[in-house]
């Protein structure tokens, strides 16, 4: 075979030789029917780094607001190149601290690829030619609190920060209180004389309050989440920890607080986000960002808000392909822009990593309503209790207990536990973690994969050669998102020749009609405008002064890696 020796060929050979990894110590192998607190997760992350020290790097990329760390794992085959030289996927979890199970998806994915390298060809290819970056616990300190302190399915969600929400001069002075000391923040309700309430007890199930019907007198009040008027200002629970929303304070499309609640005083003001943004600046090889949230089974891309500029049309095609395949891989999930499917929000993760980094960025809203027995897209209290009673033997619900409240007098405290509804029940967790890990690997499969086809080499005259080198991107993600040029994010792909002097260069427009878009300046650094699209080919033309023998052509993409091929000159 006279064709060039291809790096990709070498890689394929290495696939054939790939053996399953031999861990130095037993790697973590957790059960996936439950959720894990931060120290347990960190133990697993350390375990991967210990078991596969050459393949897994664990590091802190900065401190977090209340003294934790932003822990990053970097995973790739060290023999096929350093992490930054390969196309990459970044995944994270628990941006909103209460949306804890994104962490488990990250850890599951990491365990899966390490366990199956050398066994399953697609996993092997992934770790050989790509890098996986993971920050499983983005909002580290608050996620820790969700496990360790009394919390709710929705709280804490904020970054760890003291914000004076009620603008009274004191910050976080009136949060929830675990009145009955059961370790759960539930709800408060109060029985009142008939006519003074606007709810009544459901006749079939006393755990359910239902609003009064017309003509009916009520004898119950809903008093909201468990808590006191700690600061004596006549309001209950009006100044919780935060609020700084770690998914509303990124650097693209940021809006001040009075437009976007939780956006903080300026973009990336708090360390959890800034650590990641700063780190990502020196990791421009990231093509794909997947951030795991809950709830509702959505595959969300940007833009976060309707008034923002729409996504570049070329990039949208790529996103649509990935997202629609995701709908098939993740039953019940729907794909689209977050403002269309959910609501307007500014300063999102997806917008930041797309607009500031040129990465195809997706927020996955894990877990959906499980108790929707009649599929009418809503879960009634009856359905919720049926699921809790029958499928969890009542685990989900804390029965109402009487409590003497300093403001409201005798009340009842009870409701759904914090680890219900938004997080999956154990028996349902494994499948969801697995499917999402596979969706990440689906993105990994479609990271740009370049192949040099057989070049056409014409000897124009002695010492002058014309080379047409086709470069194919075999997968669906382009070597460079179109937004990179539009927002001037970083350089474009560049092709160079060594072993000869480049007289002219360009991109072939039509091979048969001899049309070439010549590059007027600096032909020795051929800029491949827009890179090479998904499953597309570009033919690079070089007119080179050289002696018979060999030339090396290098294709250098920030997000596609550096690839070289050797060209024989007759």
């Amino acid at each position: 075979m006279k064709s060039p020796i291809l790096l990709t060929c070498l890689l394929s050979l290495s696939f054939l030789r790939a053996e399953p990894l031999t861990p130095k110590v037993a790697p973590p192998d957790p059960q996936w029917d439950r959720l894990y607190a931060n120290d347990q997760i960190l133990e697993m992350m350390r375990g991967f780094a210990k078991a596969y020290p050459d393949w897994v790097k664990l590091e802190s990329i900065g401190k977090t607001g209340f003294g934790g760390d932003t822990w990053l794992l970097t995973i790739t085959n060290p023999k096929t190149g350093a992490p930054e030289t390969k196309p990459a996927i970044y995944i994270d979890g628990a941006t909103h601290a209460n949306e804890v199970q994104g962490t488990e998806v990250c850890i599951y994915t990491i365990g899966y690829v390490l366990k199956n390298y050398g066994k399953l060809p697609r996993v092997t290819e992934f770790l050989d030619r790509a890098t996986l970056y993971a920050i499983p616990m983005m909002n580290f300190d608050s996620r820790d609190m969700w496990f360790k302190r009394p919390s709710t399915p929705n709280y804490p969600r904020t970054l760890p920060a003291h914000i004076d929400d009620d603008r009274d001069g004191e910050a976080d002075e009136d949060g929830y209180d675990d009145l009955d000391g059961d370790g759960e923040i539930t709800m408060m309700r109060k029985k009142v004389p008939l006519g003074q309430g606007n709810f009544v007890i459901d006749q079939k199930d006393p755990r359910i309050l239902r609003p009064v019907a017309p003509g009916e007198l009520g004898d119950y009040l809903m008093l909201g989440t468990e808590g006191l008027d700690n600061d004596g200002d006549g309001q209950v629970n009006e100044d919780l920890m935060g609020y700084v929303d770690p998914n509303r304070a990124w650097g693209e499309g940021w809006m001040p607080r009075y437009v976007q609640a939780g956006s903080s005083d300026y973009p990336l003001q708090y360390p959890e986000q800034r650590n990641i943004a700063q780190w990502a600046r020196s990791h421009e090889n990231i093509n794909v960002v997947m951030s795991y949230h809950n709830f509702g089974r959505w595959i969300l891309r940007g833009p976060g808000a309707k008034p923002q500029r729409q996504m570049n049309a070329t990039d949208l095609r790529v996103h649509d392909f990935l997202g629609k395949e995701g709908e098939k891989m993740l039953p019940g999930y729907r794909y689209g822009s977050s403002w269309q499917l959910l609501y307007d929000s500014y300063g999102d993760t997806t917008d930041h990593f797309y607009g500031r980094h040129g990465a195809y960025s997706t927020v996955i809203e894990l877990t959906g309503p499980v108790a929707d027995y009649n599929n009418d897209k809503r879960v009634t209290p009856e359905e919720q209790f049926k699921f809790s009673d029958e499928m969890t033997q009542g685990r989900m619900f804390v029965p109402y207990k009487k409590f003497q409240h300093p403001t409201y007098g005798e009340i009842e405290v009870g409701g759904f536990r914090h680890d219900t509804n938004r997080t999956p029940e154990g028996f349902m967790a494994t499948e969801e973690f697995h499917r999402n890990a596979m969706f990440t690997l689906f993105h990994g499969y479609h990271l740009p994969k370049l192949k040099f086809e057989t070049p056409k080499v014409v000897k124009v005259k002695d010492g002058l050669y014309r080379i047409h080198q086709p470069v194919v991107n075999e997968r669906m993600i382009p070597t460079l998102a179109a937004i990179v040029a539009q927002n001037r994010i970083h350089r474009q792909d560049i092709a160079t020749i060594s072993g000869g002097k480049v007289i002219a260069s360009g991109i072939v427009q039509d091979e048969y009609l001899n049309k070439v878009a010549l590059q007027e300046h600096r032909p020795e650094r051929l800029v491949v405008n827009g890179g090479i699209g998904g499953t597309q080919t570009k033919i690079l033309m070089f007119l080179v002064e050289a002696k018979p023998g060999q030339l090396t052509l290098t294709y250098d993409g920030v997000k596609a890696g550096k690839h070289t091929t050797t060209i024989q000159l007759p």
Partner: protein
């Protein structure tokens, strides 16, 4: 219509004699150190952070001992030269600090020093500061570091080159039939674009003085250096300008300033010495949408549909949506105004100054102009608008205080009656891109040596070119005599405006016994200052705490109704009031206290014994 013209220079070679008066960064530092050392009780020198190059962002805190600690007093901020090439601003800020110290015993100054605090940061872009003194002069705004400005994968590989060796980067023209530029027939100094519609032919290509070092066909497009902190603030930030930073607030100078302001909520008035002048030209806003907010039509999103019951994906006017929205639990809870709803639905914060706030800008401008005119300074001259993504815009639109950018000096208006109309551009006019009548007249009368003759140079590619233009600092750095006159006038103006800060006090606290141990307490807070306690914009942005009138009760006393704290977003100046009343249950002889609290308009308290 603007004519795009460039100057062809006839004048003699010129070296900027003003340099002697301007201070290098290290000289600024020693002046600051000296001032603090000589006045240890009055002046404190600290740093709010470091530049990208590791130099200090120095801050003077000037206040004398008084009834209140400096942190409790209303503060005036004066910051200068974040843009890097506005060395006149540094001079003015430093002169102001030195004047405060020198006049500390004069009654007006003494009173201010005892009741206010001045924060003065005269050199906010230390890495760029000395470009004015560099062997080759050019306007530099970027901090230290590296940036691939032209996104070609090579960093800082094509900076300017002083081809004619005159110590300044000016312009370069190359004779080329394909060029767009021709010599203006009326003024041979000026190059202007040929109008092919009129049959005119171009004779020259025009570019900045330099070599295409990296051979990419562009000249000086990637000089060494980092980002521009003066473009790195979040209001109207330019997302696809590499120099503006990877995201707003990313630069150390920017972030240090943000953290300083957010940590010093006592600031009520901020002055920024920079290339714009908000008192000679009122701030016009950036990306302003005109017309009535309510009549604009927007499509209703799914979520808004769920909240309001309106049909999703259908268009309604903002008035229609607001009618429904304001009565929803969500709308009531957050007390949304129509403006806020429009801002959320249409994707943006406030873009133009609030009309009521502009009235105060105008009022301050009137006083300012009087002071300038008294000193013989021109108040009719051109003035630029503040930079998008700049400090002044952030201070007004997001921090939400009265913020005033002042350029100290500018090219005076041409005396002749037939002066050209003012151009409508909003960023700093660089004189060479638009040699207006004023600039030409100024060159004729006062700066004849600022012109650099076209002189032939040989380019590395063998081509001939001519280099010439005007001094890059012509329009922004006045000669020493003018500079001193202008800074003195500005110090006087800032001192005068500093006397107009809001100042809340408690008026009479009326107590009425209603019998049976029930008392009615009425209190009034009065703003004795000229400026309101908050800008109108602040009442929307809510970036400061409201003014809070509150009563404190000892054990045993209680409120019959309601809460002890009565907030308001804004108390007007010149005697504007905020009232509150409480009904108490307490024993006779109980001592209660009433306080008015603000972050940047003062605070006051009174104790009352119930009869």
């Amino acid at each position: 219509m603007l004519r795009h013209r460039y100057l062809l220079c006839l004048g003699a070679l010129f070296l900027h004699t003003a340099s002697a008066q301007y201070l290098k960064f290290t000289e600024v530092e020693s002046r600051l150190t000296g001032l603090a050392r000589q006045n240890p009780t009055l002046v404190k020198l600290t740093s709010i952070g470091s530049s990208a190059g590791g130099k200090q962002l120095h801050l003077l805190t000037i206040a004398t001992a008084g009834a209140k600690s400096p942190e409790q007093r209303q503060a005036v901020f004066v910051g200068a030269n974040l843009v890097g090439f506005h060395n006149a601003g540094t001079h003015a800020a430093l002169a102001f600090a030195e004047q405060l110290v020198a006049q500390k015993d004069e009654p007006a100054v003494k009173q201010l020093l005892e009741s206010r605090v001045f924060y003065i940061a005269p050199a906010l872009n230390p890495d760029a500061h000395d470009s004015f003194f560099a062997p080759v002069k050019q306007r530099v705004s970027y901090n230290a570091g590296s940036l691939d400005r032209d996104r070609d994968g090579l960093v800082g590989e094509d900076g300017p080159n002083d081809l004619n060796g005159d110590g300044r980067i000016t312009l370069m023209r190359i004779e080329d039939p394909a060029g767009e530029w021709m010599v203006d027939e009326k003024d041979p100094r000026v190059l202007r674009r040929a109008d092919r519609l009129k049959g005119e032919r171009g004779k020259y290509r025009l570019m900045p003085e330099g070599i295409d070092d990296d051979g990419d066909g562009q000249y000086n497009e990637d000089p060494p250096g980092g980002y521009r902190p003066d473009k790195n603030f979040a209001h109207a930030w330019a997302e696809n300008d590499p120099e503006a930073g990877p995201w707003p607030s990313a630069q150390p100078e920017t972030k240090s300033l943000l953290d300083f302001f957010l940590g010093h909520r006592n600031i009520a008035l901020a002055f920024v010495y920079g290339p714009a002048n908000n008192l000679l030209e009122m701030p016009r806003g950036i990306g302003v949408r005109t017309g009535d907010v309510g009549s604009r039509r927007v499509k209703v999103s799914r979520q808004l549909a769920a909240i309001t019951g309106l049909e999703a994906d259908k268009e309604f006017t903002i008035d229609e949506i607001y009618e429904v929205f304001k009565d929803t639990p969500f709308g009531r809870q957050r007390n949304f105004t129509k403006d806020q709803l429009a801002q959320f639905l249409e994707g943006g914060p406030v873009r133009s100054p609030e009309a009521e706030d502009l009235k105060f800008y105008q009022s301050l401008a009137a006083d300012y102009k009087k002071i300038l005119e008294k000193s013989g300074l021109d108040t009719k001259r051109r003035a630029a608008q503040s930079q998008p993504g700049g400090l002044q815009n952030w201070l007004y639109y997001q921090y939400s205080v009265m913020a005033i950018e002042l350029d100290v000096w500018g090219i005076p208006k041409k005396a002749a009656a037939n002066a050209s109309p003012r151009p409508a551009e909003r960023t700093a006019p660089v004189p060479l891109t638009n040699p207006d009548e004023d600039t030409l007249a100024y060159l004729d009368s006062s700066a004849t040596t600022a012109l650099v003759n076209w002189s032939p140079v040989n380019l590395p590619n063998g081509k001939n070119a001519e280099v010439g233009g005007v001094d890059p600092f012509l329009a922004i750095a006045p000669p020493p005599a003018e500079l001193n006159k202008a800074t003195a006038a500005h110090s006087e103006a800032i001192l005068a405006m500093s006397a107009k800060l809001p100042e809340v006090i408690l008026g009479d606290v009326e107590v009425k016994s209603l019998g049976s141990g029930i008392y009615q307490v009425k209190a009034t807070a009065i703003n004795q200052g000229y400026l309101p306690t908050a800008t109108v914009l602040q009442t929307k942005s809510r970036s400061f705490l409201p003014a809070r009138l509150e009563v404190s009760l000892p054990r045993g006393a209680s409120l019959v109704e309601g809460t002890r704290r009565k907030p308001t977003e804004r108390i007007l100046g010149s005697g504007g009031t905020h009232n509150a009343q409480w009904l108490l249950s307490a024993a006779p002889g109980t001592r209660i206290s009433v306080r008015i609290l603000t972050q940047n308009a003062g605070q006051d308290s009174k104790e009352v014994v119930l009869p």
